[in-house]
Symmetry: C2
């Protein structure tokens, strides 16, 4: 296999490489403060965010199939890391860092394994409404988790928005006003510049401005929390200890992070691939992300993935290939070697402001509005996931969402849409009489269309419907339009056999129109096709009516007439 | 609401009441030893089986909608009770009895609640293959659990067949030969009489024979285990203590029993209702069974339900209404008042033989053979449930079965059947070219039929298929036969919008044939119908071909010709 980066560079020239260089630099300027902020969000030392932005980014640049995707620490994954490590109850910074690295190694292993096993399709069970609900709730949790840094309060860690709010309210008199001024100004600058001067390096501005301000005025003495001593130099190779009990305890969160981070990454990558007319390979993406996370795990980092906002910046700045990622990674390396002493006076409130403004946009009101218009049930699923994530927590929340969306689908197909068909005047077309009130119903003949695969969960429902339609009516022929029946299982075959028997007892002949190949195979194998009689299988509904003896139909209608 | 029994008696006469009397008596003769045996299987004193056969049976007779269903202790539920109480680790007989009664109360409450909420349909998620696999495994577990009584060994309680077998083998030298002779003879008589003289009261014979033999020869002194002192009199009203922690601990098994016992009951009741041409009401059945279980719970009983074998006997003996059940219940009351001293010398080996022969028939080889013929995937589900129940245990086993059958359904619809359509010569019928190799494909036009609802889990798969079919072909029209698409969700709508956009970029026009009402509504609400263009919606596939400009189609075919 050739390195994906090499095939990306096939048609590159000096111009595209210069474009990559600019994009890589621009992204790095955004990445460095974000990486530190997100590490803080994950409950880690800010430096760990930078460690996770060295080799992992370079590896993805070499192995990934997206030309624009900007990999590194992201808000959602950082929150999941905080939640997972918090659940274990680790407090000591060195131990927390070791757990975060182990988590990255596990996430990488899982992602690589899913990619190598070509199981990338697994993510399809995370539907858009579930992701939107989960992301919106996570954004709120992330936002409120930064209250302590924004206000300079000493709040206990919690993933419950109301707990954080209540704590903050009860300590309102202890707010550090200087800290509040710094975070307020930072938020205003970040939002204002994003709106009115989107290409201005706003992250650089607030980081440099905040740091210089604190250093020049000695604000740390007045209670403004600062990042403090940041060790210089590159991360060291330190393979996390694989303690079996810890691995087991981290397994659920590692699986969640592996899937959520891949999901985020693949959606961003797909969007940019579509816009730039190239293809991405989901399984190769998983392997590339997996190896990036493994690298993060063994070089003192924590889980990374491709993020929304930085990829957008990378793309807008002109990234044409993974070379942009290599440049970003190199800038972070230089920063680690030379610039870390400068971060000493960086106020934590600035980092919190960066997180806060980044997650504002993740509360997906637009998707909720869209769903309200096209599908109330999907809106309900989004709402359920949102509420479950806020109240039950991050991992149970997404679990509830996935389970509910699968059950909802099963539920829907277990009470399928069934239409009574009537003939449109002067045609051979049979349509739902509920939608076409003028469609003619032939007396003595009941024509039904079932719009779902037949399987164990809907046979009882269908029996009820058919019984209701037959009850008290003088019906001698039942025509089932089977075009929308994509499959039958064994229980549905048993049910059809019972239906046939009960119809025979009632003197009703069964006709089947447009039976699909797979269904026909099952009917043949079970002997049901012979019991129904091959002469009762027709291609189209009207053909059944053509075959029903005319005298028979007429006699019913005569009887029905006064 | 009138009492269901009263409406059953509307057309009754002296003859039908006499028939009920005979059936009730016959069933009681079978029930009394079975109830004692099943209570033993549940790890309870045999008398508790009789207690559970008094008021609960009478209540069901008054409230149930089945005219033949014989309610009382059954093997499967008894095994579940043993498993649930065993998991709590209770040992003291009084405590075990209290837990069993509490379980009956909880099961009753759950069943009544499901019935009152009209949620009886919930049982449809237990598919036949899952029930068959579960029942077969449970039958083996039940059968082997009786080894200790059949051989007179002191085996430790276990729900693992291999553990029980290994234990028995290691103690083979300690087998009590007298016990073995009694159980061997009982099994031979029960099976032989069932085969050759099915109407002979075989249960009465082995119970009376075994008791007389032990009493006359003083066999209990030689190590033949007997039932021992059985307290006389009716059960007392004793409401179980509702300790919250215990209720929570029993909740999963109570839910399992509530569903499994209703499932068993409703299948039997439905079979007899179908054969005797009357209707049963699932929700009323749940309420009746629920109240029977509540009564069992407050009168020192344990969970009951309608069973396969006794209902068959009741029906064959001529039961016409719930009066048969009232008679059965009265016979049990008389037995409790007068006959309990006679059970003192009843050998446990006889009760074990009754259980053993009852469950032989539950290993459902016939269903496995049937499934092998009609549906391999359903056979696999049955096998999976069977193995999971044997290895993981009773409750996880059925859980694995239900989850696997739902996931399998989702999985199948997430990789739906897609057919390329071609025109059958000299017709307007378009069929799957894989099944009709002679069907003509029009060059430049790709006609596809998707046989599943469109939803979040299958859009990625369908995108792959459509991309593959379009790749490298000179296609200018895509005709989607949408007749088998029963529904679309929000994600599928997004996907269709993207598909439309990508088709437009490739210069491909999209046509939709036979779009269903609910799908059409969703397309209209989302604005997609307008984007596709109403003129591209047709009723039948051939109409799309009729509308495609003839010159356009010809020019493609010309280009394809050498």
């Amino acid at each position: 296999m050739t390195l994906p980066l090499l095939s990306q560079l096939e048609h590159s020239d000096a111009r595209s490489l210069r474009s990559d260089l600019v994009a890589g630099l621009t992204t790095a300027i955004m990445l460095i403060p974000q990486a530190m902020a997100y590490a803080m969000l994950a409950g880690l030392d800010p430096i760990i965010g930078l460690y996770a932005s060295t080799l992992p980014i370079a590896l993805y640049a070499l192995l990934g199939t997206s030309r624009q995707l900007a990999v590194g620490p992201v808000a959602m994954v950082s929150l999941l890391v905080a939640s997972g490590i918090g659940a274990i109850g680790a407090e000591d910074p060195a131990q927390v860092a070791a757990l975060a690295a182990l988590l990255a190694l596990m996430v990488g292993g899982i992602q690589w394994g899913i990619g190598a096993a070509r199981l990338g399709f697994l993510v399809k069970f995370l539907s858009h409404p579930v992701i939107a609900g989960f992301t919106s709730a996570a954004a709120l949790i992330i936002g409120f988790s930064q209250l302590k840094h924004l206000l300079g309060l000493d709040l206990a860690r919690s993933h419950h928005v109301h707990t954080l709010l209540l704590q903050a309210l009860s300590q309102l008199d202890q707010v550090n006003l200087l800290t509040l001024a710094i975070s307020g100004t930072s938020i205003a600058l970040l939002l204002g510049l994003k709106r009115f001067a989107p290409r201005f390096p706003r992250f650089l501005l607030v980081v440099v401005g905040g740091t210089v301000l604190v250093w020049a005025l000695g604000l740390e003495a007045s209670g403004v929390a600062i990042v403090g001593a940041v060790p210089g130099g590159l991360p060291a190779l330190r393979v996390p200890e694989l303690d079996w009990a810890t691995v087991l305890a981290l397994a659920p969160i590692a699986i969640t992070i592996a899937l959520v981070s891949f999901m985020e990454s693949i959606s961003v990558a797909s969007n940019f691939a579509r816009a730039n007319r190239y293809d991405i390979d989901a399984d190769q993406e998983l392997k590339a992300l997996g190896l990036a996370n493994v690298a993060s795990g063994v070089f003192q980092g924590y889980p990374v993935t491709g993020g929304f906002s930085r990829t957008a910046v990378n793309g807008q700045a002109g990234a044409q290939s993974g070379v942009a990622g290599l440049v970003t990674s190199a800038v972070v390396v230089v920063t680690l070697l030379v610039l870390t002493p400068l971060f000493h006076y960086l106020p934590k409130a600035v980092l919190a402001a960066i997180i806060m403004t980044a997650v504002f946009g993740l509360v997906d009101v637009k998707e909720a509005r869209h769903l309200a218009r096209v599908s109330r049930s999907d809106l309900a699923l989004m709402g359920l996931t949102f509420i479950a994530t806020l109240t039950l927590g991050i991992e149970p929340g997404i679990g509830v969402g996935v389970a509910a969306s699968l059950l909802w689908f099963v539920w829907r197909t277990s009470t399928p849409h069934v239409a009574v068909l009537g003939r449109l005047a002067n045609t051979t077309i049979y349509r739902n009489v509920a939608r076409h009130p003028d469609a003619e119903i032939t007396p003595g003949v009941l024509a039904l269309r079932i719009d779902a695969p037949l399987y164990f969960a809907n046979t009882a429902f269908l029996k009820g419907i058919i019984d209701r339609h037959l009850a008290g009516q003088d019906v001698h022929h039942l025509v089932l339009d089977a075009k929308a029946i994509g499959s039958v299982d064994a229980q549905a075959l048993d049910w059809l056999a019972q239906l046939l028997e009960s119809l025979e007892r009632q003197g009703v002949t069964l006709w089947l129109a447009g039976v699909r190949g797979p269904v026909r195979d099952a009917l043949l194998a079970s002997g049901l096709a012979a019991a129904i009689g091959v002469e009762h299988f027709v291609e189209r509904v009207h053909q059944a009516f053509d075959l029903i003896p005319a005298g028979e139909v007429r006699s019913f209608s005569d009887r029905l007439r006064p």
